[in-house]
């Protein structure tokens, strides 16, 4: 049972005295009378743990919990870094992502950008040292925050495959490209450079250099400047929900100024082209706002400041603190404004902290956070999700704990659910790849917006048992399943698809723990014409894209998968949901009215045939001529009926029924103009083949 490091402890030799009222002077600490260890012995084992070591053992904290997620997280960290770098340098980002299989469950991930490149001496530190980076020590809206991501990905690769991270970076057309192979020393959290005798290699920017790269097998897309990172890791490639492809698609959606080229392990290429050449405005870096500082941080700041007086400390360390406000804080804390900030006692620091909370300080400047913007959101969502109605709302900036943030929301309603747009080929691939044990699980886990009930409906339609293994389906059963998927009405029972973003980065996991999802569920969508069970996501063909931009996004963990539920954030979310919800409600009511009119007209048309036939049987009259005449009367009749009246009793003309009376921020796609439906009922099959003439109106 005992003993570590060969130290035997006998109770005779090493009597430890315990004060024990009942049992004299000797104490037996364990049942067999042996002490386990002394403080000295324990001390010998107590030593500093390196961050790298800690994360190597706690990889789930960084998003490397399983092989599938590891692959995605690696791509994500590299792409996030690439985009941040480009935007900071003012370059329209273009990113190449390539995943190649190098063995069973082994993949090589290549991510290259056209960013500014990295100066030579920084490369090893950025990619080979955890918590090294430009982003942690400042408050500025960016994708990365801590400087953990990419080096953690490299470390994960090294741990699972033993392969180093490879980096090529070039800062200008006529400058050499730097090539590094790096591995992280997890014990010391320092980078180890493996190539060029520990110095890395410089590849000249000429033809010779290009030939050298080709010869050495160094991959590089010829751009004037940029960075390429290559990581080999153990992973699992899978399509569907939570896949690399989905992540890139969603990234493109929230970053309409980015072009992404993607090549998957099977060599399929896909490009997401940018929708705009306009870079988002450069976010400003800000000092922390006093309200956002915790006591412990305040104490640390006081200790480290170089300011000589308390008033100066307050003014220089924080944003929005003027001389007057500094004075008022000092007064409230009963401290002299000329006191030495480094000499404040614990009590005085606490008083200062309380004083800050009690003093009225203007909210932080908000030009440090930039939304995507309603128009771009609408266009991006329209590009990505085929629907009939789109609405977007960007909230004015707000503040939580002194950190400015902006919530924006875009909503798409209607259209075909994603699963029904799938090609037969892609469907077969998904079926072959899945590790789901039952068909039901496969359906629910692979496709967005597919609830258990929708899955059941599909299986019932296909007449397949729920528990069958997806791999065991024969050709005929697969066909049946595919047909069922395409034919079943999934709108019913389909739950809202919520796309979450933080600083333009899609969040793919832990939806349930995220403030966004929670607030969606707490919002009453029934008011806006959707069905919703209490405390659940609403149902219907709805996609909701939610973006939170902030200088510091409060994630619940380092893997940045869920946003913490601060009341201020939840309030803004709620207001944004209500804004798009109201617009949706208006649209749905209008659509219902339109449908009603259509039904009305159809109803008449339907009966006219019967009436014409009956009349022609009684009295000598040509049935078809009579029918035509009745139809023309019907059209005139219902044309009058189409003239609906708005809430104020004014007739609504079709032109007015577009975007502006939604209050802006909407996009309506009408598959068919109203009048067309009244032409004698086409048979259903003709409707299907008719290309829907789309009329799109932005506002």
């Amino acid at each position: 049972m005992m003993a570590t490091k060969g130290i035997e402890i006998s109770d005779n030799k090493n009597p430890t005295k315990w004060a024990s009222p009942s049992n004299g002077d000797e104490k037996k600490p364990t049942s067999d009378g042996k002490l386990r260890a002394t403080a000295q012995v324990l001390a010998a084992k107590q030593r500093e743990i390196s961050v790298s070591e800690f994360f190597a053992k706690n990889r789930h904290l960084l998003g490397f919990d399983n092989p599938r997620k590891a692959l995605l997280t690696t791509v994500k960290e590299a792409v996030d870094n690439a985009l941040d770098a480009c935007e900071e340098a003012g370059i329209l980002p273009e990113v190449w992502v390539q995943i190649q299989a190098t063995g069973e469950n082994r993949f090589r991930v290549d991510v290259q950008d056209n960013g500014p490149g990295i100066v030579k001496k920084q490369i090893p530190l950025i990619f080979g040292k955890l918590l090294y980076g430009s982003k942690f020590h400042r408050l500025r809206m960016s994708r990365g925050q801590q400087g953990i991501g990419i080096s953690a990905a490299g470390m994960y690769g090294l741990l699972t495959t033993g392969k180093p991270v490879k980096i090529v970076s070039k800062i200008a057309r006529d400058k050499p490209a730097h090539y590094y192979e790096i591995q992280i020393d997890t014990k010391r959290n320092v980078p180890e450079i493996l190539n060029g005798r520990g110095e890395g290699e410089d590849i000249p920017p000429n033809e010779a250099g290009r030939q050298y790269m080709e010869k050495q097998g160094i991959a590089w897309i010829d751009v004037d400047h940029g960075t390429r990172v290559t990581i080999e890791l153990e992973g699992r490639y899978q399509r569907g929900r939570g896949s690399v492809e989905e992540y890139l698609e969603l990234t493109a959606l929230a970053n309409p100024h980015v072009t992404i080229h993607y090549q998957d392990p099977e060599g399929h290429e896909r490009t997401f082209l940018r929708l705009t050449d306009q870079l988002p405005p450069e976010p400003k870096e800000i000092k922390p706002h006093p309200y956002g500082v915790e006591l412990g941080v305040l104490v640390a700041m006081l200790r480290e400041t170089e300011a000589t007086t308390l008033a100066r400390f307050l003014k220089e360390s924080f944003s929005r603190v003027s001389d007057g406000i500094a004075q008022r804080i000092c007064e409230a804390a009963k401290l002299g404004s000329r006191a030495n900030p480094r000499r404040l006692s614990q009590q005085e620091a606490e008083a200062l902290y309380q004083a800050i909370q009690q003093t009225k300080i203007p909210p932080p400047a908000t030009d440090c956070v930039w939304p995507i913007g309603e128009q771009l959101l609408l266009r991006a969502l329209h590009q990505m999700v085929p629907a009939e109605f789109y609405a977007a709302a960007t909230r004015p900036p707000a503040v939580y704990r002194g950190n400015p943030f902006i919530v924006e929301v875009a909503l798409a309603y209607g259209g075909t659910p994603p699963i029904q747009r799938i090609s037969r080929e892609a469907f077969e691939d998904l079926l072959a790849e899945t590790d789901a044990r039952t068909l039901r699980q496969f359906l629910a886990a692979t496709f967005d917006g597919m609830g258990a009930s929708a899955a059941d409906k599909i299986l019932q339609e296909a007449q397949l048992p729920r528990r069958i293994m997806p791999g065991n389906l024969d050709q005929e059963q697969r066909s049946r399943l595919y047909e069922a998927i395409r034919n079943v009405d999934l709108f019913e029972g389909q739950t809202m698809t919520v796309l979450r973003y933080a600083n333009r980065v899609p969040l793919l996991f832990q939806a349930g723990a995220c403030a966004i999802t929670q607030t969606v569920m707490q919002t009453n969508w029934r008011l806006y014409g959707l069905e919703q069970a209490r405390g659940a996501l609403p149902t219907g063909p709805v996609t909701l894209m939610v973006h939170i931009a902030s200088v510091w996004v409060p994630f619940t963990s380092e893997s940045k998968e869920a946003i913490a539920a601060y009341p201020e954030i939840q309030k803004e979310l709620r207001l944004a949901f209500q804004a798009v919800g109201r617009k949706l409600g208006m649209y749905l009511r209008r659509r219902q009215r339109a449908q009603h009119e259509g039904q009305r007209r159809n109803l008449f048309l339907r009966y006219l045939g019967e009436v014409a036939t009956a009349v022609s049987m009684i009295t000598p009259v040509d049935r078809d001529q009579l029918y035509e005449k009745l139809v023309s009367v019907a059209k005139r009749k219902t044309a009058q009926a189409d003239l609906e009246f708005d809430e104020h009793g004014r007739p609504i003309t079709p032109d007015q029924q577009t975007a502006e009376d939604y209050g802006g921020g909407v996009l309506v796609v009408e598959p068919m103009a109203f009048g067309e439906q009244s032409e004698a009922l086409p048979p259903p099959e003709a409707l299907q083949n008719q290309p829907a003439a789309e009329s799109v109106s932005y506002s």
């Binding site: 109803l603 019967e610 009295t619 005449k629």
Partner: protein, 384 residues
């Protein structure tokens, strides 16, 4: 809309009305006028409408002078281009075409037959022209009032209900029927009893006794009441169908036979009498061809429990519906100012129970045929 698949002879219904028998010609011309209204409206670019006389209590008046219920002049406008009326407009015209077809072919069918004749899926939809027979029955009634034509004139009949025995010989569709030789079942009264179908040949009867239902009628037939008292014995199986009422009317008017009714002593019995006498609210438009204002209510009476000394066990307690119904009937204009009827209904309510004709059997099996009815007739003890 695609043309419907022609049902061979369906398309060729349009006939020259002049070739039809006279009673059918009248109906057919009315049908054509109805159809022509739709055609001319369509040609003028107007929406076709039908003004259907309202078949509601509020549109029913009691003509005290004639002693029958008559229909008022109120109409309901039925529009083709009205969301709530389009379907019934279509159904009314369908029924019209069905009737035209029957007339043209010289055939008759039942209400249910008409329902099946016209029921089909509307082209290009999943909607049926008629969901159930109630819809087609209602459309038929609309057509009757629209054309002021009887159901029989539209070549429609209801199922036979009601029987007749007695000292009368008639011709039904060319067959001579001697109603005194009908055995225990009697002559089943058809639903169409118009002169074209039934002619009276010979009659020795002095009056008609109409009883409520089959069981009582059997008692009277078994006891050969009609032979003894020289009468005609009919029943209508509860509320008498139109064929029975029409035949009673014809015999009453053409053969000058008084009509006596022997019905249960309850609101339902009163109502049956009211329908025979004045006509029904629902079919007020037919009253003048069916109502028999001179019909008399022989029994049972509320006083009979005591007068005949019936045992308490034959009483059936009145329920709330009965009481409500009785009060309603008391307010009918044709009962409202008849003191005897008011007394009768009041006594029923005071009694708190109702009596069936069969209750008289508790005295003796043939009490009703040998004592009760002959005595009442002798004493002229009836309500009018």
């Amino acid at each position: 809309m695609a043309k419907r698949t022609p049902k061979t002879d369906l398309e060729k219904v349009v006939v020259n009305p002049s070739r039809l028998p006279p009673e059918d010609r009248r109906t057919f011309e009315r049908l054509q006028r109805l159809a022509q209204k739709v055609v001319s409206a369509a040609e003028a670019g107007r929406d076709p409408v039908l003004d259907v006389p309202a078949r509601t209590l509020s549109n029913v008046q009691y003509n005290a002078k004639r002693g029958i219920i008559e229909m008022g002049s109120a109409t309901n406008r039925r529009q083709l281009f009205n969301l709530n009326q389009a379907r019934s407009f279509m159904q009314t015209l369908l029924v019209a075409s069905g009737a035209a077809r029957l007339i043209a072919q010289g055939k008759t069918t039942s209400l249910r037959g008409m329902y099946y004749l016209l029921k089909h899926t509307i082209e290009g939809t999943r909607e049926e022209t008629f969901d159930d027979q109630e819809e087609s029955d209602s459309a038929i009634e609309d057509l009757e009032v629209l054309l002021n034509a009887l159901r029989e004139e539209l070549h429609l009949y209801a199922k036979n209900a009601g029987a007749m025995v007695g000292e009368i010989v008639l011709v039904d569709s060319g067959d001579v029927i001697d109603c005194s030789r009908m055995g225990s079942g009697g002559y089943s009264i058809p639903s169409i009893v118009e002169p074209e179908v039934i002619q009276f040949r010979r009659c020795n009867a002095k009056f008609i006794l109409h009883v409520e239902k089959d069981t009582v009628w059997r008692r009277f037939n078994e006891d050969k009441f009609w032979k003894k008292h020289h009468c005609i014995l009919t029943h209508g199986g509860g509320q008498p169908p139109r064929g029975v009422r029409r035949l009673l009317y014809r015999m009453h008017h053409e053969l000058k036979l008084p009509v006596y009714c022997l019905l249960d002593n309850d609101p339902w019995g009163y109502y049956i009498y009211s329908v025979i006498k004045q006509g029904s609210i629902n079919l007020a438009y037919e009253s003048q061809r069916m109502a028999i204002p001179a019909a008399r209510f022989l029994g049972l009476r509320a006083k009979d429990y005591e007068e005949c000394g019936l045992s308490p066990s034959v009483r059936i307690a009145l329920n709330e519906t009965d009481r409500r119904r009785a009060k309603q009937i008391a307010k009918y204009p044709w009962f409202a100012n008849k003191k005897e009827w008011q007394r009768e209904i009041k006594q029923l309510l005071d009694n708190g129970f109702k009596l069936e004709v069969e209750a008289l059997i508790s005295k003796d099996i043939s009490y009703v045929t040998e004592e009760y009815t002959p005595k009442r007739l002798r004493d002229r003890d009836w309500l009018d």
